[in-house]
């Protein structure tokens, strides 16, 4: 605040007050009960009369703090109110402009598409999809035509029909592989150790260091694919190991992209879903096959293949993200993590540990012990960790050839919760997470464990 001039202080004090208002007026002034004119005259007197200021001040000090007092009467127009009115008017104009002029995109389209894709995914590795292939192709063709119509502004309803058709066509397969759907949902749940081939085959997103490396390799190869596919692939692979936030943005991007009429995309999605890749033995083979598939399709659909792969990936990533959030809420028996150890894939299916040496074409039970309901599996290199009900943990250091039981507490007396997930950071450091929230950590490869304090 600027300095109040001494001269002003002196002149203000030197002003002579007029006749004093009576107690009635002063009390009415204190309670804002005076009219505007009378209030001004009392204020003018108070400005010059120290005695009346004292009286008003003392009376105000004696007033209970909870005493209700009317707000002071205000005369005339208030600019402050008008300023807010102008802001409100601006907001209203902008809102109307957005509503009237803004883009009208068929937002309802997205969920239907995603549903169709999700239900197609699990069927893809199964060899028994041939019977429905022709029907699905027909649906895809129809979908392509419908999508073309969408491009000419007739789009939403036909496309929904196509998606619904796809949905219906893929239902039997999805039903047949319902357990697989659940597994697919949880594919990234325990994504800590090994990763990759499996997730790349089906375009799902996983997290983990090894997965990142594999994904980066793949990105390089994807860059050599058809130019049309390149941009979509880049978008796909540059986010192979996204944070949940990144995944959100990807999905958002996908939605935005999907809103554009893309007839070939729909067809390619159907092709990708109905003609799944044959099981491959290793990464190189997979990459070659993917590239061959892109090349096998007509050039105009090359971008669509990439886009469809991307869409499948993104859908999976989205679902996986949701599953990761709610994994602890699901029953322990459904919780499954699958990692590859070299070319061997591992999974939990119906409480059994299964492995596949042919990229998921066939699965063999590899239970280390009988009468144990298995709930979690993790792999890092040759090291396979499996966990089950009541804190059962077994480890194999030779890719599942032999198993050794691991005791978290050093004995079997203390009852433990079910293993919900296992995280392997390196061959010596691993965490076994139980359903009751306990985190048992080993730093010597499983010889001994210690219970970590719970995080607040």
């Amino acid at each position: 605040m600027e300095k109040f001039p001494d001269i002003a202080k002196a002149r203000l004090a030197a002003q002579r007050p007029g006749p004093h208002p009576d107690a009635e007026q002063l009390s009415a002034f204190s309670e804002n009960a005076l009219g505007t004119g009378e209030r001004e005259s009392v204020l003018a007197h108070l400005a010059t009369c120290v005695d009346c200021r004292d009286i008003v001040g003392l009376a105000a000090a004696g007033r209970p703090s909870d005493a209700a007092v009317a707000k002071p009467a205000r005369g005339g127009f208030r600019w402050a109110t008008f300023q807010w009115a102008s802001v409100a008017a601006s907001v209203a104009i902008v809102t109307i402009a957005v509503l009237v002029v803004g883009p009208r995109q068929p937002k309802r389209e997205q969920p239907a598409n995603e549903t169709a894709q999700l239900k197609q995914e699990p069927a893809s590795p199964a060899p028994a999809v041939a019977p429905s292939e022709s029907a699905a192709n027909e649906a895809a063709n129809r979908a392509g035509k419908s999508a073309l119509k969408a491009a000419t502004n007739e789009g939403v309803a036909p496309r929904r029909e196509a998606d619904a058709k796809l949905d219906r066509d893929s239902k039997p397969k999805a039903k047949a592989e319902s357990g697989y759907v659940a597994d697919g949902v949880n594919i990234t749940d325990g994504g800590f150790g090994g990763i990759g081939v499996y997730s790349r085959v089906y375009g799902s997103k996983s997290s983990g260091g090894a997965g990142n490396a594999a994904a980066n390799d793949e990105k390089k190869q994807a860059d050599t694919a058809a130019p049309a596919a390149k941009s979509a692939s880049a978008a796909q692979y540059s986010n192979v190991a996204p944070s949940p936030r990144q995944t959100d943005s990807l999905v958002g991007g996908r939605i935005a992209g999907e809103n554009r009429p893309a007839p070939a995309t729909v067809q390619a999605q159907t092709n990708a879903a109905q003609a799944p890749p044959a099981p491959v033995a290793d990464k190189e083979e997979l990459q070659k096959r993917t590239q061959n598939e892109i090349g096998k399709d007509q050039q105009p659909t090359a971008a669509s293949v990439a886009a469809s792969t991307e869409s499948v990936e993104l859908s999976k990533a989205r679902v996986a993200q949701k599953a990761a959030k709610g994994a602890s809420a699901t029953s322990a028996g459904i919780v499954s993590t699958r990692f590859d150890s070299g070319t061997v894939l591992w999974r939990i299916a119906s409480g059994h540990i299964q492995s596949s040496v042919n990229s998921g074409a066939s699965w063999q039970d590899r239970n280390p012990a009988k009468d144990v309901q298995w709930t979690a599996v993790a792999a890092l290199g040759q090291q396979i960790w499996v966990g089950g009900k009541s804190g059962a943990v077994w480890v194999s250091r030779d890719a599942g050839q032999s198993w050794a039981k691991v005791s978290l507490t050093g004995d079997d007396i203390v009852p433990l919760g079910d293993v919900t997930s296992i995280k392997i950071a390196n061959p010596l450091l691993a965490d076994v997470l139980l359903g009751n929230g306990d985190d048992w950590q080993t730093t010597d490869g499983g010889k001994s464990f210690r219970l970590l304090p719970k995080k607040p």
Binding site: I7, S27, T48
Partner: protein, 307 residues
């Protein structure tokens, strides 16, 4: 400063309103007749409304009155025992509380509140009529608020009268004999007519509320919270208004000084520091300084000579 008017309340014109107000007042409880009630309102309007008040203004004024409390006060003034019981039940404790808050001392506050009762009941005047202080209550604000104001008035009057009677010993105990000359805060003697005129003009240009805030803050040394409580607004509102008022006042004075031919710098210096207010004799001070230097020099030279 009550408005002097010759407003006459037309009973026939406002008969309906008067009837409604009478019902609302509960005057029948205290034995107040409709005619008495109308007389009360006539007295109130005569005192508070201007002669040219329209029907709408009159209706609005009458409707805004604290009718129930007004009738209670008049009933007490008339000596109605029941009304006094109600009055004491309702206002004894608030009066004591207000007294304590005003006097900032329990005993003094209680004494202050007790002293008011005699005035409220009314003492016989020279003509033999008893006149109660409650007759001055017009119902424009709350009866409790009015009582607080009357208490505050009484306290200020007592303080003033006591202030004149403070003994010399008390003054000495309070250290009054060591009080410094009021150079900064008090009313300074202003010699510069130009500056005084410019300041007066600038003060006149301020609104009444701005002047009230300035006076309360800079002359009475009240806090922002106290001023806010007096005006029933938020403290931040007072802070904002105070800053704006000071800025505006300075600007007005500066502009007025510039019009008199001063440069901007001169005007600023005149505003910020008025050396004539300082009780310092510059010439004497400078002369003493010179004498000290000279004597120091002489003693130094003398010492040197001794060496």
């Amino acid at each position: 400063m009550p408005p002097t008017s010759t407003f006459a309340l037309d009973r026939k014109r406002f008969a309906t309103l008067l009837g409604e107000l009478y019902e609302r007042s509960g005057g029948s409880k205290w034995g107040v007749s409709r005619d008495d009630f109308a007389k009360y309102l006539e007295a109130v309007t005569r005192k508070s409304l201007s002669s040219g008040a329209s029907e709408k203004e009159t209706t609005s004024f009458l409707s805004g009155l604290r009718i129930e409390e007004l009738v209670l006060a008049r009933a007490c003034s008339a000596g109605n025992e029941t009304a006094w019981e109600v009055f004491l039940t309702r206002f004894r404790e608030p009066l004591y509380n207000a007294g304590r808050a005003i006097a900032r001392d329990d005993a003094t506050g209680r004494e202050l509140a007790d002293s008011l009762y005699a005035d409220l009941y009314g003492m016989k005047s020279a003509d033999g009529e008893r006149r109660s202080k409650l007759d001055y209550y017009m119902g424009r604000g709350s009866l409790e608020g009015w009582l607080r104001t009357v208490l505050a008035q009484e306290f200020v009057n007592r303080f003033r009268s006591n202030k004149r009677l403070v003994s010399l010993e008390e003054q000495e105990e309070a250290g009054k004999q060591f009080v410094a000359a009021t150079a900064g805060h008090g009313v300074a003697v202003i010699q510069d007519a130009k500056l005084a005129a410019a300041t007066d003009e600038a003060l006149r240009a301020l609104e009444a509320e701005e002047k009230f805030i300035l006076a309360s803050y800079f002359l009475d040394d009240r806090t922002l919270a106290e001023i806010a409580r007096m005006l029933n607004v938020h403290e931040s509102t007072i802070s904002r208004k105070l800053e704006r008022s000071v800025k505006r006042l300075r600007s007005e004075i500066r502009n007025a000084l510039l019009k008199t031919g001063m440069s901007r710098r001169q005007a600023e210096e005149t505003l910020d520091a008025d050396v004539r207010d300082l009780a310092v004799d510059v010439c004497t001070a400078l002369g003493r300084e010179r004498n000290l230097q000279e004597s120091g020099m002489k003693s130094f030279q003398a010492g040197k000579g001794e060496d």
